[in-house]
């Protein structure tokens, strides 16, 4: 059996959670082969029986609260890695099975191996982990769920107009809402993120069909009506489901239509949440900077320079940032965005007139930014030991 590798460098958790039992989330990858060989008759990587306890290595440690995205990223990487492995190296019977199926095809048919394997991965990886993933998501987003819950209660008394629905736009009737609710329910029940997305799209399509009139509907209609629909269907878990889909679906899919309507669901949640602003500093939505509140873009979104050491180039990324977020939250998001597999070697730096100052993990980047606003100041995320000569030209060359 060829060596199974997901990632050249094993991904390690930050120090604070690197508790003794496991040094890295990918420790299990090395366990995988012997384990499956012992547990099965045919010695294939995917042999049954597997139970969810054998996936524990993919899970973050129990005390790590903020690691649902790490867990989902690991799951996604594992599934993509497995798919590649199967297609490139095959497994004992894999190629034979494919050949067998190919013989059955009509001349006009083909096997979409990627789609088939994606479905298989969801069955083998997502389903066994489902309950763990949900409990993790629920604990991480408990404040969000509470907030959405009270917002949905308030929205029951709001008129369509108050939610931003134009007078000329219809809203779904009770009968239509019942149909949409069924799709939302199926979305929650489905194990596979792909099935979830399909049910979301079905719900939205029913909604569109019900509200269409003489004119074609644009995003101006979609967003408020979707918010209204989510409220009326009391879809309190909307954000959890959206996070789960966004975390587990393949990236190519998220760039297309599915990604668009998933974004619409996220925005509908954000629109609703404004009805019940949460007083807690930590549970505010990252994009909350609507009317009346602070208008500065910097509050919601932080721009960080990411030097690419291989290419000698600087990439700039913008990422949403909750007010009061700490440097370590930002680092986590940056490591994710930049596909950095050894985040313990990286830190956030403040660059000011050619000087680098490393931020502590409990520093609040936004506070630092507001202190230095107007100056030639920028945040950079780089390897701690990297020696970088920054360009003389102001990094902030845009308004």
């Amino acid at each position: 059996l060829p060596e199974l590798r997901l990632n050249a460098e094993p991904f390690a958790l930050p120090d604070e959670v690197r508790s003794p039992p496991r040094a890295s989330c990918y420790d299990n990858v090395h366990d995988l082969r012997p384990m499956s060989e012992q547990a099965s008759d045919d010695g294939t990587v995917f042999s049954e029986p597997w139970d969810s306890s054998q996936w524990d290595g993919l899970l973050p440690p129990p005390n790590g609260q903020a690691y649902d995205n790490i867990m989902m990223r690991n799951m996604r990487q594992f599934m993509s890695g497995m798919k590649n492995y199967l297609v490139k190296h095959g497994e004992r019977e894999f190629e034979k099975e494919v050949e067998k199926e190919r013989l059955k095809l009509k001349p006009t048919e083909f096997l979409n191996l990627d789609a088939i394997l994606e479905g298989v991965m969801h069955r083998l990886v997502v389903r066994p982990l489902r309950s763990k993933l949900y409990s993790l998501l629920a604990s991480w987003h408990s404040a969000d769920v509470r907030q959405l819950h009270s917002a949905i209660e308030k929205a029951q008394h709001a008129t369509p107009l108050q939610l931003g629905i134009k007078e000329s736009t219809k809203v779904p009737s009770t009968a239509v809402l019942a149909v949409i609710s069924k799709h939302f329910l199926k979305m929650q029940e489905a194990d596979s993120p792909l099935d979830k997305l399909e049910n979301l799209l079905a719900a939205i399509s029913v909604m569109f069909n019900a509200i269409r009139g003489e004119r074609t509907l644009g995003a101006d209609d979609l967003l408020p009506v979707l918010a209204w629909t989510v409220a009326r269907c009391r879809l309190v878990c909307a954000e959890l489901e959206a996070e789960l889909m966004a975390g587990l679906l393949p990236a190519a899919l998220l760039a297309g239509e599915g990604g668009y309507y998933l974004t619409a669901l996220f925005s509908a949640v954000a629109v609703l949440k404004r009805l019940a602003p949460d007083p807690g500093p930590d549970s505010t939505t990252p994009w909350r900077r609507g009317s009346g509140e602070s208008r500065e873009v910097g509050v919601a979104v932080v721009r960080v320079a990411l030097p690419d050491e291989c290419r000698g180039s600087i990439r700039r990324v913008a990422l949403p940032c909750r007010p009061g977020a700490r440097a370590r939250d930002l680092c986590r998001a940056l490591a994710h965005a930049a596909h950095i597999t050894n985040p313990q070697d990286y830190a956030l730096f403040a660059l000011h007139d050619g000087q680098e100052t490393m931020l502590n993990e409990n520093d609040c980047p936004q506070e630092v930014m507001s202190e230095k606003s107007g100056q030639n100041f920028i945040l950079a995320y780089k390897r701690i030991d990297a020696k970088i000569a920054w360009p003389q030209q102001a990094l902030l060359s845009y308004p």
């Binding site: 269409r212 995003a219 408020p224 873009v297 290419r311 700039r316 913008a318």
Partner: protein, 208 residues
């Protein structure tokens, strides 16, 4: 979000502008060559795909419409992230809508830098007599911020095709420059550029 799959460039384009400037009409005109859609065949114009072929390159545009009302402005970032291009639409009879375009340009440049190709559309030129946004002002502003400016009328089908074509051409150019820059940086190979071939296009629209 640029991905190249089997020789096809996939570009994400986000459509920004105030509520009543005609974003949806522009999109419909481009995709379906329709203005006032009374046929009821069209369910929605919130997300649309358009496939085109420019200089033999297959290109797929994913066009994301956004809600233009001021109260939804804050949702911008989750829509425009990973965009290759943005179309900023204003109504030439509505000065406020031009002000909104300026805000978007500022925000996009701040958030995405020069990675994103910007195109500004002064829409509703069929109402030229009611124009309140001076053409010179709009054009010089566009030059200043490095964006192309187009006069469009979704109603009369003016400037729409040109706008999307130019945007696509620039996004392709930007993409190729970037990948070339990457190659020359990593391998230290001098890349001699060929002369740019004449632009030609043939478009066929499909809807999702």
């Amino acid at each position: 979000m640029t991905t190249v799959q089997s020789g096809t460039h996939n570009f994400k384009v986000v459509l920004l502008g105030e509520g009543c400037v005609g974003k949806t009409s522009l999109l419909l005109r481009y995709i379906e060559d329709k203005y006032n859609d009374k046929h009821l065949t069209t369910l929605q114009a919130t997300f649309l795909n358009k496939k085109l072929n420019i200089n033999g390159k297959r290109i797929n545009l994913s066009i994301w419409d956004t809600a233009g009302q001021e109260k939804f402005h804050a949702l911008g970032p989750i829509y425009y992230r990973n965009s290759n291009g943005a179309i900023l639409v204003y109504d030439i009879t509505d000065e406020d809508s031009f002000g909104k375009v300026k805000n978007w340009v500022k925000e996009l440049r701040k958030m995405l830098g020069s990675d994103i190709v910007l195109v500004i559309a002064g829409n509703k030129i069929d109402l030229e007599q009611d124009r309140t946004v001076p053409l010179e002002e709009a054009e010089s502003y566009a030059v200043m911020v490095g964006a192309r400016h187009f006069n469009t009328s979704a109603k009369m089908n003016q400037g729409v095709e040109e706008l999307f074509l130019e945007l696509t051409r620039e996004m392709t150019e930007r993409f190729e420059q970037n990948s070339q820059a990457d190659v020359s940086r990593t391998s230290r190979v001098l890349v001699v550029e060929d002369e740019a071939p004449q632009q030609s296009s043939c478009c066929s629209g499909i809807r999702n």
